[in-house]
Symmetry: D3
Subunit: 237 residues, 6 copies
């Protein structure tokens, strides 16, 4: 259930019998021909679909993440790391103070992964009661990546693997076919200006799209894997 579809009394009631909550973290950044919100849309949606039958509240998606290498593409946003870790720290502090003991961040953007450093620091210092925080990048978790790999091993930014009916935008014609993949290693060292030159349309290569039926298989795997995490992924309990 979406936390925004509840009032505080309902959450207080929930806390009497459960202590899990989900925070989707995304990004607002260029995804080639796809929505600037792709990473936020997918993280929020996969979290909500996964949590729905379990009755676990899902916080609103944090729509801004760390994407400094894309800021040269208009509409892309980015928070500095020093900012981002404080946002996550604040949210964890409040949640722990309210009695949430199992917190899952469902992540939709690779650039956010270093926040695990802050999470590790936060959980290390938290003594009593013990709180468990999971950080799950849904799109490259084992089962989901395996589902996608049945179609292609080339799974890059702004390309087919993010091309769902709910990440396409009106007025944009996505090219047919594919383009050569950009090396991940190269993508990892470019400045924002160099990135814009290296990826003129924003996609990092491979197929631009695949049939929706294929995509549904990837999506279903993603939802299943997040749901499994929320049910069985807690290590400490």
């Amino acid at each position: 259930m979406r936390l925004h579809d509840r009032n505080w009394m309902q959450i207080e009631e929930y806390l009497k019998h459960d202590d899990r909550i989900v925070l989707p973290v995304g990004s607002t950044e260029q995804h080639g021909y796809l929505s600037l919100g792709t990473d936020a849309i997918l993280a929020g949606r996969v979290a909500e679909e996964a949590a729905e039958p379990l009755g676990i509240p899902v916080l609103p998606t944090l729509p801004f993440g760390m994407a400094p290498y894309f800021t040269t593409y208009p509409g892309s946003m980015s928070l500095r790391m020093s900012t981002y870790i404080e946002v996550i720290r604040d949210l964890l502090d409040v949640l722990a103070g309210q009695g949430f003991r199992r917190i899952a961040l469902v992540n939709g953007h690779g650039g956010n992964a270093p926040v695990t450093g802050l999470i590790r620091e936060w959980t290390s210092a938290h003594r009593e009661p013990s709180v468990e925080v999971l950080f799950h990048s849904w799109y490259n978790a084992p089962q989901t990546a395996a589902a996608a790999s049945r179609f292609s091993e080339v799974q890059l930014h702004g390309a087919w693997v993010e091309n769902f009916a709910w990440t396409r935008v009106e007025g944009a014609t996505i090219p047919e076919g594919s383009k050569p993949p950009m090396s991940r290693a190269l993508a990892g060292v470019l400045s924002a200006a160099e990135m814009r030159e290296a990826a003129p349309d924003g996609s990092h290569g491979g197929d631009y799209g695949r049939p929706d039926a294929d995509m549904q298989q990837v999506w279903d795997a993603g939802v299943r894997e997040v749901r499994d995490l929320l049910e069985n992924g807690w290590m400490k309990s």
Copy 2:
């Protein structure tokens, strides 16, 4: 238009003939019987409705704000001020770097207002090119407050003035009638623990609700006033 309904190329195209953008800033916090997302929902919606006919992009709503006094009500979130000003600084830096010259923050939460200090600092230092940043708290802007005042001068947190069809939640029965208003001055000095005692159901008093027809008038005034701001509210151009 919602920025998330566009890709970066469309925003780049937009920037060739316009330089305005809207950032709705809300809060996830207790609103009595109403949605925990009330301030975020209303800020985002009023911004999107206002901007739609103007074709101005609306960023995703920042769903977390400064609400430290409500953290004792489960489901309420809060960012420290030192965090919040850095989030806004980062977003302004990126937007200015991409060529946006007129940026409107449409705010749905009173506790966020002190971020104007950061905005004033940011704009003061920005020399060339000149950027204008407006901070508009939609719910107590003159025309909107006047529209609400036709029904009642008592316009407090978590009560009728925030009770729209789109902020009510399933499974919650909102009381009929009203309760005595809490003094704003008192609300301004309580600790989070004291607040919970002073407002047991979270509402700060007055009528719990009004007919939807009345609410529509308030809403329409809100949308009109934001739209007018986006069209005519820029002081420097």
Copy 3:
């Protein structure tokens, strides 16, 4: 009484029977033909006169505030917001640690008002014992503003309403008459460079001065209102 006119033993003695203290917060910034210290001088003086008969200690005035839009006028100082909130946090922490439970900031500068965000955060987190912090901008508090409005509704920066015998400086001839008022909305969006152009002499318009007898009425209202705050303005006790 001025805290600087006391030693620590006298303050320890005071704390046995009272728990109030006053911190005047001002600014050092251009005020047109008036003293660069206008906001600091007035905040300190109004606080000391108000507190004198009550025997409440008044800390030395914090002479630097947030005035980033005036830094292009020589002699104007400004602290960044990230700095200013830490200064106030530190002082509140020390005061609370020493047993002060009612702390009044008497403010003389509009640009400082966003520090209320930090104060609200600080008080929200303070559980036991409960501390109350008031932030009072003396110059536009209701009674004082009403006293000034008897003379003119135009009460702007660096003009008559700040022109007291104790804010005028040697060697400066203040113009007779008035100049057109600058819109507050415009003043709120200019960069420091634009501000200098928009207000060549620093005053934001209206009358440059009024008879000292008129000013004394404004001043007396200001002192009375601060004194009333210190006596009766505490909400929690």
Copy 4:
């Protein structure tokens, strides 16, 4: 001249022929039987007397410094180091931006001395135009210390060497005679709680006072030495 006795136009005029300015930095902290403002009062006064005949503007004294070891004595204030260095950085940035090229901090409190680390960092990075910043602790500068040493080598906190007519307070009877000096090394490692026990009246020992005629000699040396610094102490010009 005190900057607060001038308006911005006069400072702009001053900058046409000079580029020096003085910032007195003090502390509000226990000084035994003497004023809680001792370090601020003395730094401000020595700076103003020294600068007066030279026509150099003196900023208002920063009345709060780093005195964490005294916070257990009521009325003592302290800024954290992370706060204090940002305050000084902000003021230096503004002053340099306005054309001041020779900035003298006249310091009245030993605990503030580590801010030289920030000053050194700030000046190191400042390339063009070159700015010179001096940090002068007036009370233990060579000539002043020598003047005091003519009376006694024991020159400790809250004792005779800070006991001037202008640091004594009404209603306090300063003991005659002396008490055993506390070791500086010990004073440097105590917690605030331990300090309170180690120095029950706040003085760190030696004579509590000396004849005003003696003190005047110390004072005159202090003023002379600051004045000499402002005239001849600049290394880069």
Copy 5:
């Protein structure tokens, strides 16, 4: 060559024909029966051996990293993430300012990996001239991990894969045999207190040691792989 074996003139000379430099980053933390400095020792040594024949300067190893989960084991150190990213930022700023254009961090500790977020931010913003920063965790880079996997796939903290002649300490008898491996997922969510209970001797399981001849093969692979990185791993040139 070790930078500490050179003076600045030699480095200036070096910069006339090369622009590469290596920064080893380690950690001081419990490694079971092995040295508290294991991660620092190995990172520094592998970097120096790899760089030696290439004549690339190697900075002194940063001996402290992010290891908050081990702080309950005496002698383990840890920097907060907010601290650690500023250390790396400062070093990158200085190096870039001196003309280094290819900077390789050779990392010996898994907990340090999130600093890649800061590095990515730093490189993204760096426009002209372009600087390339590599972050290489030597111990689990492909070739080195493959070399170790020839002996065992279980390669965990404080066990055989870190047990070299140069990480063993006097007076410690390392157990023969092995113990059950701890799950990496579990290790990733424990507090520091829980970690101490979960790993009583600090090792995370598997074999405690292997013959030195085996270890030499792992080491040689590590050195070769770092050397290859320094010679051929630069993506932008």
Copy 6:
């Protein structure tokens, strides 16, 4: 004993009968013809030699310090003060949490001295149990400075007093004789660019070297004085 020559169990054992530890803090910065690591090498070595017979653990040397004025000499590193104080704070926090009650920082670089402000803040706030932190700049401590003064009172950066067999580097020919000393006052106000011009070879003047027999006397005094500090320098116990 070097902490890196021990495992955590040995340190835990040590803590059962002792609570002292040493942290050498150095700098990586130009020292004229001498090693870029001079301050780190000397601080680490003097600490280790001094502590050896006492069995007190010596942490690895922090090789980077505050040297902003030397960053124009290639190979010199510098941390900003805001970074450096957090590094030291973190290390003190961890050490105190593990039961170390007497912590000695042995410092090899004058530019690091302002960190005493942070140390003073840290110890002031530490209530129970009491922790004592000493900051000892070995090279200008009384006995060591006296030993050096027997040869020359001119003891400046990058010159004879730092010229040991273990700070000289291969391939560098140190000039015979001396050069005129730079004034310390001047060195304290120069920007990094100005410093490079003022000290073209990096040395601040005086003799470039002295016979190793003389240097050994200085060194022996340094070791003795640190050892005496570790044995007898604790004020609180």
